[in-house]
Every structure is written in C-alpha cells, then in structure tokens.
C-alpha cells in the first residue's frame, strides 16, 4: 500500500523543496534585519564543499560533516558580517555578491582540493548511509512494504522534514523574542533602533551569521542529497534563485520564504514546458513583484486575513460585529 504511493521521483522533489526552504529562510533572516545578502550561494558552497571534502577524504560521519560545514559557513559569515556592517543597502548587496563570485572562482581554481569545474562526485549519500547502518542492525524495508530505493528517499525526506520543522519552529520563536523584535526595529529604522538602546552591531552580525550558517547547512545537506557538487551549483544564478524565494513568497514573514521556496521548486517540475524558460520567468517575476507587490505574495495582512477565516470556521467569531484584535 505505502509502496505504491511513494514515487522516488516525487520524494526527490520533496527533498529539494525542503532544502530550498532552508535556503529561503536563510535569506529571510538577513532580510529581517534590513540587510540584503547576495552571498548566500557562496555560504551554501562553503558548507557543501566543507562537508563533502571532510566525508570523502577523512571519512568523517555525515552528521558531523554537515554540522561542521554549517559551522564553517557560519564562521565565514561572522568574518564577512563584521566588516560588512560598515555597509548597508546596495553596498552590502554588491560586497556579498562579490564574495559569492570569489568563492566560485576559488572552487573552480583550487583544483587539487575541489577538482575544479568538474566537481566532486562520490559524496556519501545521506539516505544510503543511514540505510546501510539500518540494514547492518538487521532492518529490512520489506517490513514496511517498500523497495530499497523508495526507503532511501523516504529516509532523506523524513530527516529533512524534521530539520525543517525544527528550523521553522526556532525562527518563529525567535521572531517573537527580544532578538526578533530587535531585528524588526533595525529594519524599520536603524538610527531610531540605536537610540532606543538596541546594540545594532551585535544584532546585525547575528542575523547575517544566522543566514550564513543556515545557507551553509542547506549546502551541506544538498551535497549529501545530490551526492555530487560542482562550482556551478553555487554561482550567481543560485544566489538569484534564493533571492526569488523570498521576494516572490514574501520577505516580511517567514511563511513567505517557505511558500516561495516550495512554489518555485515545484513549478518548473510540474510544468515541464516552463522549465526551459525558467530563468526568463524568474526575471519577469522579479520585475513584476517589485512593481506591483514589493512585499511578496504572503504579507502580514494576508496572514491575518487567513487567521480570521480560520477563527470564523471554528465558530469563535459569530459575526456580532465586534472584532477582536490579534
């Protein structure tokens, strides 16, 4: 029964969606403190290469590799984030764009380590490694009525899903905390926030580093889900794709980035004829969104409208005309 429902191809797409959601959140976090980073593809590459090289060359366990990959990207985030504080707006965007390009050039040219433009193949696959450990202790996917490769992809999707739930939970909590309010204040007006006693240096570096860490984390996961990485995976186009997730879905709320990532990943797969024109459509979307709905599809008022609808369905609102403020 379960075996017929699970198509490895669909599972693969779901795992891409989940990785892209992490990337979408990574740019959302930096945007939430008013900083636009176009270097997230570079951080993603750092995470991916770190984890891939550690697991291939030193046989580090995947879990440790992914964590180290994310940490290295995060450290780079601090290193870039502190000096980049002097910059804001478009200048930060350009500096981070330059950083991404420098990383790509390094990945291409440092051939003795990264194997240049050919890329790294034979990166240990997350699903297969877990599967190997499970079969070693005597587990057989037949119990669930699944074929081996279905089971492998199912493992990947479930691990990614758990990670996603944790990340979304964490950042939803953070948004309601002192940190989230500080980010929002800095985004609204940096000088006013500073005069209210918010340490803008600390919070800006924090949000930049969180973004870098998440991007590196997503990159490391990407390496172990694809089992192959090349410098082209982390070039300018990736940076733009990540930007699209947030700009299209909505850059004010975390759900926007999540929706954007999911929609933008599924759309080219669902509409095959579109995937050839994918980047042209991306371009058109960016232009149209900026002209007509710069805050993205999902914004605060849309979310509130949703909440009201749900409340109404549940029957707490009887249409007495008295509206509760949320």
């Amino acid at each position: 029964m379960l075996g017929e429902l699970l198509n490895p191809y669909h599972l693969q797409i779901v795992s891409f969606v989940l990785i892209n959601i992490i990337l979408g959140i990574s740019i959302y976090i930096t945007l939430s403190s008013g900083q636009l980073s176009l270097g997230n593809a570079g951080f993603m590459g750092i995470g991916a290469y770190t984890s891939a090289l550690l697991t291939i060359n030193f046989e580090v366990p995947i879990i440790l590799g992914i964590i180290l990959g994310a940490l290295v990207a995060g450290i780079f985030g601090i290193l870039i984030g502190i000096p980049a504080l002097r910059l804001s707006g478009v200048y930060l965007a350009i500096a981070t764009l330059g950083f991404g390009e420098v990383m790509r050039v390094i990945f291409v040219n440092w051939e003795s380590v990264t194997q240049g433009a050919i890329g790294l193949s034979g990166v240990p696959h997350l699903g297969r490694e877990v599967f190997k450990t499970l079969t070693a202790i005597g587990f057989d996917p037949e119990i669930l009525g699944l074929k081996n490769n279905q089971f492998i992809y199912l493992i990947v999707v479930s691990i990614l899903l758990l990670i996603n739930i944790f990340i979304v939970w964490f950042f939803v909590r953070q948004n309601k905390s002192r940190v989230g309010r500080a980010f929002a204040a800095i985004k609204m007006d940096e000088k006013a926030a500073e005069s209210m006693g918010i340490d803008i240096t600390y919070y800006k570096v924090l949000s930049f580093t969180q973004g870098a860490l998440l991007a590196g984390f997503a990159g490391a996961l990407y390496a172990h889900v694809m089992a192959y990485i090349s410098p082209a995976d982390f070039a300018y186009h990736r940076a733009i794709e990540i930007l699209i997730f947030s700009v299209f879905g909505g850059s004010e709320v975390i759900w926007g980035a999540i929706f954007g990532a999911a929609f933008m990943t599924i759309m080219p797969e669902a509409l095959r004829f579109i995937s050839e024109y994918r980047y042209m459509i991306y371009g058109a979307i960016l232009i149209l969104m900026m002209a007509f709905r710069p805050q993205g599809i999902i914004d605060v008022s849309l979310l509130q409208w949703f909440k009201k609808i749900i409340k109404f369905r549940k029957g707490t609102d009887h249409g007495t005309g008295i509206k509760k403020r949320h």
Binding site: I94, G98, G283, L286
Partner: protein, 294 residues
C-alpha cells in the same frame, strides 16, 4: 614583454571604463545600481555579431544598429523596471536593485534562446592588421578601440559639463526635487540618462567583440560585475573615477594573466570590491563624506 602587456591592459581598461561610465551615469542620477547594464552590453555585442558576421555588413553599420537596439532596451528598462518604482510610497531602497536583477536574468536567458548558448565569432576585416614599432606589436584593432573609447569619454565629459541637457542631468543628480522646481524636466532627463548609459554599454559590447573575437550570453554577467567593481573603485557616481578605475582594472587583470595565475583573473575585480568597500567605501577618488558607503 611588459610594454605590450601594458598596451593590452589599456585596451581592455578603456572598454571597462566605458562600461563603468554607463553604471556611474545611472547611479549618479537615480542612485540605482543598474544590474541589467551588463546584459544590455552583451546585447550590443550580439547585434555586432549579427550585423558583421551573419549579414556581412561593414562595422559602422554594426555600431549604428547596436546603438539603436540598446537605446530601445534602455528606454524599456526605464519604463518597465525603474519608473513604476519611482516615487511610490513604502518601496524599499532595495526594490530597484532587485527589479534590475530581474531584467538582467530575463535578458540573459532571452539571448540564450535568440542567439544560442555558445560562443559566436566576431569577424572584422582588419583583425589581423598589426603595426611593428621596434620589438612591440600593436594591433590596429587595439588603436581603434582606444581611440573610440577616448572619443566617447571626451564627448560625454563635454556633454555633461557644457550642454544644457548635461547641466540638467547634473542638476537632477544633485537633487531631483530642486531640479524639478527649477524647471528641469526630470522625467525626460532620467529617461535620457538611462538611454545614454545603455548606448554606451552597447558600444562597449561591439568593442569587446572586436577585441576578443568572441561573444557569448554569459559575458554580460561577468562584465556587469566588473563594471560594479570599477564604480566602487572609482567612487559611486564619479565620472572621472570610473574612467581611471576602468583603466586600473584592465591593467591589473592583464598583468595577472601575464605574470600570475590566469584562473584568478576574474577574482581580481571582486577582491578589489571587497577591500575597497571595507577600507575606503567612498572609492579611491571619491570625496569623503559622512554618508558615503551608508
């Protein structure tokens, strides 16, 4: 040969300078970084390929065709991606940047479909004509590129400083509202600026085609990023800084290729950006103001 390399560097640098001038004009007047400039440049180069190699017409026709096409592209960029955002309430200052990124992605992939993804040769009659001075070889193309670039820079400087339209442009750059109050048609000035910047990009495209004999859809991106590096090097919105920055980058890149690792050629520009932004955000030639880099 150092001298030959310097000549190569100056040729490349003068093209960079023209590309950077396009960026700097738009930034000076609108305060916007036009990420689509590199792609407009690439379109100019492809028009050159079509006119000279495919249709077999002389080079000057290619220049006219490229100027016409890039002028139209510039006008459309202003109408579609920039004007709708201007003066709108609550639009973030990042919106025009994102919108021009959209135009750049759109144009790059449009050219993939129109012209194919591969390299296109750029044939011209005098590609091989060279002049021997002592032990140094100079190609006629190099001289031509240098002369056209210098002429273009001089024309632009004259236009900006002496003509009425140029004064209107500088007034608009200084303060849009005040210029508007003083009777400058700012809407028209902005459109003119974007068109002129795009045309400069288109001309630079043909010059690059002549210099390297090959044109591909990806060249817009790398040239665009280098143009950004140059205007940051020279100071945002600074015309003379853009020229000097372009020459500097051209020479630096040529020397890296000649005496260092050619693979890192593209990184020179970006490492420069990062260092300049961090150490001297107002640019090498920019004035030191409290707001620069902010």
């Amino acid at each position: 040969m150092l001298l030959e390399q310097l000549i190569n560097g100056i040729t490349l640098g003068s093209i960079y300078a023209i590309v950077a001038l396009g960026f700097t004009l738009v930034f000076g007047v609108l305060g916007i970084i036009n990420m689509a400039h590199g792609e407009i440049f690439m379109f100019g180069a492809f028009i050159g390929v079509i006119v000279t190699s495919v249709m077999g017409l002389p080079l000057w026709v290619a220049f006219i065709a490229a100027i016409a096409v890039t002028a139209v592209l510039g006008y459309m960029l202003e109408r579609i991606a920039l004007r709708p955002l201007r003066g709108k309430q609550g639009v973030s200052h990042l919106a025009p940047l994102i919108s021009t990124i959209g135009v750049s992605i759109l144009l790059e992939n449009l050219s993939h479909h129109l012209f194919g993804a591969g390299n296109q040769p750029f044939r011209n009659a005098f590609a091989e004509i060279q002049i021997q001075i002592g032990s140094i070889t100079i190609y006629l193309v190099q001289i031509l590129i240098f002369v056209i670039s210098v002429a273009l820079m001089l024309a632009l400087s004259y236009w900006l400083s002496k003509t009425k339209a140029g004064k209107a442009l500088r007034a608009t750059a200084e303060n849009l509202e005040t210029a508007s109050l003083l009777g400058v048609n700012t809407k028209r000035t902005i459109t003119t600026t974007v068109i002129i910047a795009s045309v400069m990009g288109g001309i630079a495209g043909i010059l690059v085609g002549m210099a390297f004999n090959s044109v591909n859809p990806q060249m817009g991106l790398s040239m665009g990023l280098k143009g950004l590096a140059i205007i940051i090097l020279g100071g945002m919105g600074n015309v003379k800084g853009a020229m000097a920055g372009g020459l500097l980058l051209g020479i630096a890149e040529t020397l890296i290729v000649a005496y260092g690792d050619s693979g890192y050629r593209d990184a020179v520009a970006f490492i420069t950006i990062i260092f300049i932004l961090l150490l001297r955000p107002q640019g090498l030639f920019g004035k030191n103001t409290a707001e620069s880099g902010r």
